[in-house]
């Protein structure tokens, strides 16, 4: 063998080694990031979720500690199943099912076996769990509610699902996300920013220190504390008044657009959706398809607004010069459409604008409505203008409230009627129900409250909103649009006669028994006819009770809209509740305890049961 052969072999081996190094170190497809390194574990440090306070800095939502029992399947050895099940108070079948799911998920990563232990059970377990290898306790944070009210406003949080994780890379399995309400709307403020810790592990998966002395680590940033515009006292009081009634209440501070109360009946205690019973409770609430406690009637229900809508039609007629405060119409206990008489409950006689409002005269507004359309070349032109006026009050469109759900209500435009009747094939008498807030128009309680606030402000409103401040920074710095005036199309001067009429509703009109001593209130009752289908047959149900009001008239502090399903006439349930809410908010206490007791005790369950009784039933019963 020559020396060259040997030298050649040495060089060949060297070249082969370097080629292999090139292949491994420069072209190997494995990522070198810490994420893919089995020696590095990324661990998140979770910040505390932000608290939620009411407008008077009363704590509504904070956090509580809870404990999960988790399992790492590969670490489980010789499990004494019987003793373990006894300790955990767990069903054998359920336990096996969860163990199987844990194994399928990962043998090395933790899975939850029992979620949200109580503190007492945790105390017992903590001592005994070490006997069961592979099982551990993991601390987690749950919401803690300091009020039984506001579930619809606050919303709830729950663990992220695969869809959430796909759509937002921030979340990993086991983390919480806001599902509804404020929790969802301001999720990014509330959740804070999780910190991260890179841990150096050895091949037995034992921690041996922090990776690169922690240069990549970051501390968690705590979630921000929110102050919302809800008045806890008023909210809780309103929910009490809603006992046994279905409907919605929205109260707004007209000078800011801040929502003081937002109540949906029936509702539920937000604490029901926390902890171990969460799933069971949620199922119960969700499948109550008649009362629908999870359906927020204050922003999702879209009934016809009824008579409060007359105030808007009056404003449009004043603005367009169709009527002036002195214009009169004679009411014959009703009015005629093509010879067909439509009734009126105002008592009849000569009605002007102001008495038309406080006696809620259908004839006056029907006639005014017709006059308005007669004033234009075409119905379409008139209707376009009318639509624009209505929409300037935030009706028929999403208002932009800071909640993840909502409904736009309906202001039927020209296109809507063209589709229904054909272009130029409809006139004002076709749509005359809109004059008195029946027919095609629809509005959510929130929109009604906002409309009332716009009247109270004599021509403008602020987008109704729930966020007041974030860690002391006022909302104007965060969402400037909430503090920008939205002007209606009506001149301020036209509001005074309408407001006078609404004031007289309390002094001599439909709500004269609901006055509050020392507070001047302007309001408007509404009694809304409504129908349902029973066995395919259109059946009329007891009217909805609607009421809008603001007070004090001179310097409005609260504008409120109340909608009670099947509560009969406006002054009955809705009027009572409005009166009590206003007194509670402005005075802090209730002087008319008889009125209060009546509202707290009376329920409408018998009314809601009627359509399902399978028997013929009476509607609009006088006795209550």
């Amino acid at each position: 063998m020559s020396r060259f052969l040997l030298s050649f072999s040495v060089i060949l081996v060297g070249v082969l080694f370097i080629a292999r190094l090139v292949n491994l170190q420069l072209f190997f497809k494995e990522s070198t990031l810490a994420e893919s390194d089995p020696a590095i574990t990324k661990e998140f440090i979770y910040p505390e979720r932000g608290f939620i306070y009411d407008r008077n800095n009363e704590l509504l939502v904070s956090n509580q500690v809870a404990y999960d029992v988790i399992v790492i399947p590969s670490a489980v050895k010789e499990l004494d199943t019987l003793a373990f099940l006894q300790l955990l108070d767990l069903d054998q079948e359920l336990f096996e099912q969860r163990m199987k799911r844990a194994e399928n998920y990962s043998r090395r990563l933790p899975s939850v076996i029992v979620s949200s232990l109580s503190k007492e059970r945790y105390a017992v377990l903590q001592e005994k769990l070490r006997r069961f290898e592979g099982f551990f306790i993991r601390k987690k944070s749950l919401r803690s509610y300091h009020t039984a009210a506001s579930a619809n406003v606050l919303g709830y949080i729950s663990e992220v699902n695969p869809t959430d994780m796909r759509s937002n890379a921030y979340y990993i399995a086991g983390e919480n996300i806001g599902r509804t309400g404020i929790e969802r709307q301001y999720e990014e403020l509330l959740r804070g920013k999780k910190g991260v810790r890179y841990i150096q592990k050895d091949r037995f998966n034992r921690e041996i220190g922090s990776y690169q002395d922690g240069v990549l680590d970051s501390l968690p940033t705590m979630g921000e504390n929110l102050q919302i515009t809800i008045d806890k006292t008023l909210q809780e009081y309103g929910e009490l008044l809603m006992n046994g009634k279905r409907g919605g209440i929205v109260a707004i501070e007209p000078s800011t657009g801040e929502i003081l109360s937002m109540i949906s009946g029936p509702t539920y205690d937000p604490s029901l959706l926390v902890g171990r019973k969460r799933s069971k409770n949620y199922t119960e609430l969700y499948y109550d398809s008649l009362a629908r406690p999870t359906w927020d009637r204050s922003i999702l229900a879209e009934p016809s607004p009824g008579s409060p809508f007359k105030a808007l039609n009056a404003l449009v007629a004043l603005q367009e010069g169709i009527i002036n405060p002195k214009t009169t119409v004679t009411c014959y206990d009703g009015f005629f459409v093509y010879g067909d008489k439509r009734g009126c409950h105002c008592g009849g006689g000569v009605r002007d604008l102001i008495s038309g409002i406080h006696h809620s005269c259908n004839a006056f507004f029907a006639e005014t409505f017709r006059s308005y359309y007669r004033n234009f070349e075409s119905t379409a032109e008139a209707h376009d203008r009318w639509t624009a006026h209505m929409k300037s009050f935030g009706l028929g469109e999403f208002l932009g409230v800071d909640l993840p759900t909502g409904r736009p209500g309906r202001i039927p435009d020209t296109e809507y009627y063209d589709r229904a009747y054909g272009p130029n094939r409809w006139v004002s008498t076709y749509i005359i129900s809109n004059a008195i807030g029946q027919g095609e128009v629809a509005a959510t309680p929130l929109q009604l409250a906002n409309m009332t606030a716009a009247i109270a402000n004599r021509g403008f409103f602020y987008t109704p909103h729930l966020l007041r401040s974030v860690d002391g920074r006022p909302v104007v710095d965060l969402i400037p649009s909430f503090t920008q005036k939205r002007q209606t199309t009506i001149d301020p001067k036209h509001f005074e006669p309408v407001i006078e009429g609404m004031s007289k509703v309390y002094t001599e009109g439909t709500a004269r028994y609901l006055q509050v001593k020392g507070i001047t209130i302007a309001g408007k009752t509404g009694t809304v006819e409504n129908f349902t289908r029973i066995d395919g047959k259109k059946t009329q149900l007891t009217d909805h009770s609607v009421f809008v009001a603001f007070a004090p008239v001179e310097d409005p502090k609260i504008a409120i809209a109340i909608y009670i399903e099947n509560g009969y006439y406006g002054a009955r349930y809705a009027g009572h509740i409005a009166s009590l809410m206003i007194e509670k908010y402005l005075k802090g206490s209730i002087s008319r305890t008889d009125l209060e007791a009546r509202m707290l005790n009376k329920t409408l369950e018998h009314e809601y049961a009627k359509p399902y009784s399978g028997k013929p039933f009476q509607i609009n019963e006088y006795a209550w």
């Binding site: 063998m1 072999s9 491994l24 170190q25 050895d202 041996i208």
Partner: protein, 429 residues
Amino acid sequence: MRGSFLLFRIDGLSMLLILALTTFGWFTIYSTTLENDSSTALLDLGTYHGKQLFFGLCAVAAMLLLSFVDEHLIKRYSSVSYLVGIALLLGLFVFGRTIAGSTSWYDLGPLNFQPSELMKLLTALAMAKYLSDTGVSLKAGIHQFYAVLIIVVPVLLIVLQPDPGSALVYLALFLVLFREGLPLYYLAAVVFTLLAFSLTLIFGLSTMLISAALLFGLYFLLRPKKQRPPLYFDLLFPALQFAVIALTPWAFNSVFKQHHRDRFSLWLGLEKNAEKLLEIKQSIGYNTYQAEQAIASGRWWGKGYLQGTRTKGDFVPAQHTDYIFSSVGEEWGFVVSALVVLSFVGLLLRLIVLADRQKLAFHRIYGYGVISILFIHFTINIGMVLGMLPTIGIPLPFFSYGGSGLFFFILMCFIFLKMDANRHKTHFN
């Protein structure tokens, strides 16, 4: 005439490379065995780096001593020391200390001594002495037999320890025999046997039998007229190859154990089922798999000294000994890893140059002995760490932790470098 001090006459490049590799190796041992609570004192014999440093210093002391010893004395006593070495190997069976299943160590208080490391040096010397005898020719069968015997006796004793990895290293000395005139067709026979075995595993019995028949047919038609091997070889060799091919499937399935089969499966890519392959990779190939991952994660410039996450996590087993190169790959990256490879190549090439310029056969043959041993260590160790060869546990010279290893590698090289430094001296024999 160059300086009269040995230090000035000794080959600078070789010494420099050896020193650099040893120093770098020491730093790598420090990194791979560093634990949070371990002592950072340099000469703490309770730590790996402390022990390694101690043996390094011992090697320096031994070099100083050796520099006063004439090469003649070394040659004269090489036969005796060979026999002493054999005695030490035999003594292991009585007094040896068992670590990880192999009885390869003498227990010397805080330190262990591994005679097989010393024996490499002694075998190289003994072989050099035997072959450098005038009158000994590797053309003669009986001399071939004795030369092979010198190698095979320690090999057998070491296999019995059992430490087959170390035993394999002695086979490198056959390279010296070929260099000194053992006919190359023996080497060809060995290479072809290994090739036949591996190829049969890959391509299967029938393909290989047909291919071999075709090849040998072609060989008989075209075989050279001059320098042809003896006829018995021409007949025996094909017979041997056919036997190897025919027996391979049986041997693989019946003689080999499952973990042997898995190693071959992994190495030759026999397992086509991706899941099973991964399973093999993570069980039998765990070391190789982890070493590959660690090296790959080093990229161009590595993660930085003491920053290798897999090194710190102790993911690569034996990473301070046999798998030490994986830590170099992870913490220092491609550039330095390639530089280490180049350093070894450079050292080997330089030693070949030095060996060839020796005037005395004893010195030249011993030089080739040193080269062969270093070469096989380098090839098998890094080849294994890089996943190119099946797992055979032998250390990387100068680098791997192991006192005896370091000590005798340095000494072995130094003896040769001293011979080279003194090559102009007049020798009286």
